[in-house]
Symmetry: C2
C-alpha cells in the first residue's frame, strides 16, 4: 500500500500576473512545509488521521493561508474560524464553527471527533475546547495586517458598490489535507477563516460533512475549497463518494465530474481527494488552486495554476 | 400530479405503556393541525416550499414538540434552536444553528435561503433575522415547564450516573415536513431544539444539508429525526438521494435501506421522504415516530408506533 498525502491552500481567481516571484515562492514553501509535516507521520507508519492533522496545523500556522493565523475578518472586524476532520474507517467526525481562540482550529475539531459530539459552534465550542485541554492563543497570534487591510478594501468596495476585480482566492481561501496511510485508512481535514467581510455567524462548506469534508475507506477522502454555499447545496464531497460507490467511477472521474458540474451553480473552486488505493485527484474549475502532494518517495510537489507540479 | 405532504414530530423510544390517552390524542391533534396547515397551501396550488414552511410553523407553535415553543434546554439551561429548509428545483437552501429569539426558527432559515448565504449560527444569525424582519418572541414564549423539568431530571440522572430509562424521544425530538406540489417541485424543512441537556453550541443533523435535510426534484425531499450525530456521519438524506439516482432504487427501498443501515452506527431514529411522483415513505428504526401524511383527498392521517395510520 502506497501512503499518500495531498493538501490545498485555497482556490479561486489567483492573478498570475499580479503575483510577485517572492509571494509565489513563499506559497510553494508553505505548501511543502505542510506536506512534509504530514509525510513524517505517514513515513513512520502513522495513521492518516494524524497525518492530515499535522499538515493542516502547518497551514494554520502559516499566515499566508486563510486558516488559524492569518484568517480573514468578518464584516464586523472579527475572526471566526471553522474546521472539520473525519476518518474513513468508522467515519468518526468532528467539526467546529465560528470559533476564535484555539491556536489550531483543526485540534478543536479533533477534540470534538474524540467526544460524543460531531459539531459544536461558537462560545459553546470554545468552552468545550478549554475543558478538553485544547491550546489557546492570544488574539494577536491570529491577526495579520494583510487580512485586516483586505477587509478595509472590501468594505470600501462595498460602500462604492464597485465591481470586484481583486483576487477572490484571497477572499475565500481554505486549507485542507487528505491522506491514505499504509493500512489503507483514509482521513480528511479542512480549516478556514471563511470569506473576507463575511456576515458574522456565516458557516461555509468546510465544517459540513458531505459538503466540504468527507472520508470513507470504501470510497474516498475529500477536502473542498471555493464558494462554500454552492458546495453545500451540491453535497459535493459526498456526491463524489456516491458516484464512486454506485456508478463505479474512478476517483479521478468522480471528482472531475463534480468540479465540472459545480460551475453550473456558481461553485467556483476545487478540491483534493484520495482513495484507499493511493490514487489522488486535485481538480479545480477556477484559475488556480494552491495545492500539493507527497507520496512514499517523500518528494513534495506543489502547484498554483495549471502548470505541472514542481518539486523542490 | 398528486400533491402530498408528510411530517414528523420526532422519533425514538416512545413508551406506549406510559403515554396517557390524553397525551396520545394531543399528539395526534398537533400532527393533524400541522398537516392541514401545509395542505391548505398545496390545495390552493401553492408550492412545496410554502407548504413545508407552514407545516413546520404549526409544529413550532405546538409546545408538545421539540422545536420553537417547547424546545428543550441545554445543559446550561438555555434554549438553542436549529432549523433548515431546502427546495428541490434550484436546490436553494437556508439554515440557522444555535439561535434563540425568532418565534419560528424555520422562518429564520427561510430568510437565509432567500439571501446569498446558506448557513448562519448564533448571534450573527439572530442579528441577520432582525435585519430581515423575522418576527421575534420573548423568551417566555419558548419556555415550557415540561422541558425545564426534563432538564432537571436529566441533570440529576447524570449526577447519579444512572441508566436512562426514560423516553429518549422526549430527549431528542425534532419536527420536519416534506412536500411535493402539483408541479412536482419538492421541499424539505426541519426544526429542533436539539437534545435535552445538550452541550451549549452542539449542532445536530437538522441544519446540515445532506444529513438531516435535503431536497432535489430529481430524487427526493427528506427530513430526518433521531440521533443526529449518526445521521451526519452517514450523510443520511443525501445517501437516499444517491441510491435513487445511481442505483435506480425506489424512494421506499432507498429510505428503508438507509434507516436499517443507520442502526449499525447507533443511528436511532427515522425520517420522512417524498419523491416527485407523489410517493412517500416514513421509515424508522426506533419504537416510535410521531408522523403524518396528507394527500389530495385532504384527509390527515397520523401514527406514533407501528400501528396503521389513523385518520381523524
Amino acid at each position: 500500500m502506497t501512503a499518500i498525502l495531498a493538501i490545498h491552500g485555497g482556490a479561486g481567481t489567483i492573478g498570475r500576473e499580479t503575483m510577485t516571484a517572492e509571494m509565489e515562492a513563499a506559497h510553494h514553501a508553505g505548501l511543502r512545509r505542510a506536506l512534509h509535516a504530514g509525510h513524517v507521520v505517514l513515513a513512520k507508519g502513522g495513521n492518516a488521521l494524524d497525518a492530515v492533522t499535522q499538515a493542516v496545523m502547518a497551514l494554520e500556522d502559516d499566515p499566508l493561508f486563510n486558516a488559524g493565523r492569518g484568517a480573514v475578518y468578518t464584516s464586523a472586524g472579527r475572526q471566526e474560524m471553522d474546521a472539520a476532520i473525519m476518518e474513513g474507517q468508522a467515519r468518526e467526525a468532528g467539526a467546529v464553527a465560528g470559533i476564535l481562540g484555539p491556536r489550531h482550529p483543526i485540534l478543536a475539531a479533533r477534540a470534538v471527533l474524540e467526544s460524543e459530539h460531531v459539531m459544536l459552534q461558537g462560545r459553546g465550542a470554545e468552552d468545550f475546547c478549554r475543558d478538553h485541554g485544547v491550546e489557546f492563543a492570544p488574539a494577536a497570534h491570529f491577526h495579520t495586517d494583510r487580512r485586516w487591510d483586505a477587509l478595509q478594501t472590501e468594505l470600501a468596495r462595498r460602500a462604492a458598490a464597485a465591481a470586484d476585480l481583486r483576487s477572490d482566492a484571497d477572499r475565500h481561501g481554505t486549507v485542507g489535507a487528505v491522506a491514505c496511510d499504509a493500512d489503507g485508512n483514509l482521513a480528511a481535514a479542512t480549516s478556514t477563516g471563511g470569506m473576507t467581510a463575511k456576515l458574522p455567524g456565516r458557516i461555509g462548506d468546510c465544517p459540513i460533512f458531505g459538503a466540504g469534508t468527507w472520508a470513507d475507506n470504501a470510497t474516498c477522502a475529500v477536502s473542498c475549497t471555493g464558494h462554500g454555499e454552492s458546495f453545500i447545496r451540491y453535497a459535493a464531497a459526498h456526491e463524489i463518494a456516491s458516484r464512486m460507490r454506485y456508478l463505479g467511477e474512478s476517483l479521478e472521474q468522480a471528482s472531475a465530474t463534480v468540479v465540472r458540474e459545480l460551475v453550473d451553480i456558481g461553485g467556483n473552486g476545487g478540491l483534493i481527494a484520495v482513495d484507499a488505493k493511493g490514487n489522488f485527484a486535485l481538480p479545480f474549475n477556477s484559475t488556480g488552486m494552491y495545492r500539493g502532494v507527497i507520496g512514499s518517495d517523500g518528494v513534495a510537489r506543489s502547484a498554483i495554476w495549471g502548470e505541472a507540479m514542481l518539486s523542490a
